[in-house]
C-alpha cells in the first residue's frame, strides 16, 4: 500500500469514525493540538487503526507519533 493510500484511509477513519472536521486532517496536523485527540481519544485511534489495517500497535510504538504524517509512516511500515 502506498503512503497516500494509507493517508486516505487514516483520513477516512478520523472523519467518519471520530467525527473530526475533514479540512483539519492533513499530514502536518498535530493529533493533540490540531485534531483535539486527547489521551483517551488516542486509544480509540489505535483501535481504529488496528481494525482497519489488521495489525497490532504497541504503546511504545506510539511514543514518536504526534502528527498525522508520523502515524501514516508508522502504519505504512507495519502493513
Amino acid at each position: 500500500m502506498e503512503t497516500n493510500e494509507v493517508f486516505d484511509k487514516v483520513k477516512g477513519l478520523f472523519v467518519e469514525d471520530l467525527g473530526i472536521d475533514e479540512s483539519k486532517v492533513t499530514m502536518e496536523a498535530k493529533l493533540e493540538e490540531d485534531l483535539e485527540i486527547d489521551s483517551l481519544g488516542i486509544v480509540e485511534v489505535v483501535m481504529a487503526f488496528e481494525d482497519e489495517f489488521d495489525i497490532e500497535i504497541d504503546d511504545e510504538e506510539l511514543a514518536d507519533v504526534s502528527t498525522v504524517g508520523e502515524a501514516v509512516k508508522l502504519l505504512h511500515s507495519k502493513i
Partner: protein
C-alpha cells in the same frame, strides 16, 4: 444569622414533552402525553415496548460528532438543558462561570446506555476492543463533570444518586450550599437516559413498568384504579439557583424561591415504600418546617405519582397523615402521567413544574385518571388543568433505596 434566601433565575429542559421550557409547559397544561412506542432500538421480545423518549434531538448536530462521541446520551441531554438554563438566567454560556458557581446533579443510573454498549462489545470482541471512553461515559458523575467542563463551573460539585429522588436531592443540596454562603450560584439539575434494552428489561422483570403496550399515551395513569406501573422516560432539566442578593445585584429575572427541603430515608425495603409512606411523611414535614410553613400554606403538591400500585397508595396515605383534613382540599397532580418517569431527572423537572405553576397560576393535570381507586381519594386534578392563584407548591420525590426528597417553592 438568618439564612440567605435562594431564588431560581434560570430554567432549561429537554424531555419527552419538548426540547425547551415553553414547549414542555404548553403540553403540560393541555394534558398532552409525551409517551410513545420506543424508536431508538428494536424492542424485540421485551415485555414493554413504549417509553417517554426525547424527540428531534441529534447530539452530533448540537455539539459536533467529535464532542458528542465522548458522552453518553444522559450527558448530551445535560449539556443541552444546562446551556438553556444558563442563557435563561442571563449568563453567557461561552464564558466560564468560575469559582462562585457550584454544580449539583442527580442521576439514577448514570451512563447506563454506555455500560450496555461496552458490555456488548466485550462479549462480542473481547477486552481489547472495549471503548476507551466507556468509563468516562458510564460513571454516574459523568454529566456533572461534563457540564462543569463545558461551562467552566469551578465551585463545589456533587453527584447525587438516590434513584428517583436524585435531582430533588440535588436541588435541595444546592439550596443548602447557597443558604450557607458557600457559593452564590449553583447549577442544579438531573439527567437520565435509561430507555435502553437491558434497563427496560430489568425494570420489567421486577414488574415496575406498565405493560399497556397497545395504548402508550394512556399507560401512565397515576392514582387510577387500573394503574399497572410506571413508564420509563429520559430527559434532563436544569435550574439555576442563586442567592437573592446575587440575582438582584445583576437584575436577573426571578422565577420564585426554593424555601424548603426535607430529606429522609425509609430504612425499610430496597424498592417498596414504608407502610403508609412513613418516610415520605417525615420528608414533607421536614421540608415544611425548613420553610417555616404549615400544611395550611400549601396550594399545590406535585406528587411523585409514579402510577405504580404501591407508590400512589402510600403517597396518598402519607399526604393524609401529614395534612389531616386539609389533604382533601389541597390540589395535587402527577405530571408523570404525561412525561413518564424521568427517574433521576424527575425531581428537577417537577421542581420546574412547581415554579411554572406558581408563576402562571395553573396546575397541570394528572391525565388518564378515569377510574376511582378507593385508596386514592384526594384531589389529583384529573385530566384538565386548573387555574388558581397560588404562592406555595411542594414537590415529592421518592426513590428505590428508600430515599425521600421533598422541596417547597414559593412565588414570593
Amino acid at each position: 444569622m438568618s439564612k440567605r434566601r435562594v431564588v431560581i433565575t434560570g430554567l432549561g429542559t429537554i424531555n419527552p414533552l419538548g426540547n425547551n421550557v415553553a414547549d414542555s409547559w404548553e403540553k403540560l397544561i393541555n394534558g398532552i402525553s409525551g409517551i410513545d412506542d420506543i424508536t431508538s432500538f428494536d424492542t424485540g421480545d421485551l415485555p414493554v415496548t413504549f417509553a417517554g423518549e426525547v424527540k428531534n434531538f441529534d447530539a452530533n448536530e448540537y455539539m459536533g460528532k467529535q464532542h458528542a462521541r465522548k458522552l453518553d446520551r444522559s450527558g448530551h441531554l445535560s449539556i443541552y438543558a444546562a446551556e438553556q438554563a444558563l442563557l435563561d438566567a442571563g449568563f453567557n454560556p461561552e464564558e466560564r462561570m468560575g469559582s462562585n458557581c457550584g454544580i449539583v446533579f442527580g442521576t439514577g443510573i448514570g451512563g447506563i446506555g454506555a455500560t450496555e454498549d461496552a458490555v456488548r462489545v466485550y462479549d462480542e470482541r473481547g477486552p481489547s476492543r472495549i471503548n476507551p471512553l466507556a468509563i468516562t461515559q458510564l460513571m454516574p458523575n459523568s454529566s456533572t463533570g461534563q457540564v462543569a467542563i463545558k461551562f467552566g463551573i469551578e465551585g463545589p460539585s456533587l453527584t447525587i444518586t438516590t434513584a428517583c429522588a436524585a435531582s430533588a436531592n440535588a436541588v435541595g443540596e444546592a439550596k443548602n450550599m447557597i443558604e450557607n454562603g458557600i457559593v452564590d450560584i449553583v447549577v442544579a439539575g438531573g439527567t437520565e437516559s435509561g430507555t435502553t434494552p437491558m434497563t427496560i428489561g430489568a425494570f420489567a422483570q421486577i414488574r415496575a413498568l406498565s405493560t399497556k403496550n397497545d395504548t402508550p399515551t394512556e399507560a401512565c395513569s397515576p392514582f387510577d384504579k387500573n394503574r399497572d406501573g410506571f413508564v420509563m422516560a429520559e430527559g434532563s432539566t436544569v435550574l439555576i439557583l442563586e442567592s437573592e442578593e446575587s440575582a438582584k445585584n445583576r437584575d436577573a429575572k426571578i422565577y420564585g424561591y426554593v424555601v424548603g427541603y426535607g430529606s429522609t430515608t425509609d430504612a425499610h425495603h430496597i424498592t417498596a415504600p414504608a407502610e403508609g409512606g412513613e418516610g415520605a411523611v417525615r420528608a414533607m414535614d421536614k421540608a415544611l418546617k425548613d420553610a417555616s410553613l404549615s400544611v395550611d400554606d400549601v396550594d399545590y403538591i406535585n406528587a411523585h405519582g409514579t402510577s405504580t400500585p404501591a407508590n400512589d397508595k402510600n403517597e396518598t396515605s402519607a399526604i393524609k397523615t401529614l395534612f389531616g383534613t386539609k389533604a382533601y382540599e389541597v390540589d395535587i397532580s402527577s405530571t408523570k402521567s404525561m412525561t413518564g418517569h424521568l427517574l433521576g431527572g424527575a425531581g428537577a423537572f417537577e421542581s420546574m413544574v412547581c415554579i411554572l405553576s406558581l408563576q402562571n397560576g395553573v396546575i397541570p393535570p394528572t391525565i388518564n385518571l378515569n377510574n376511582k381507586d378507593e385508596e386514592c381519594d384526594l384531589n389529583y386534578t384529573p385530566n384538565n388543568a386548573v387555574n388558581k392563584d397560588m404562592n406555595i407548591a411542594m414537590s415529592n420525590s421518592f426513590g428505590f433505596g428508600g430515599h425521600n426528597g421533598v422541596l417547597v417553592f414559593s412565588k414570593t
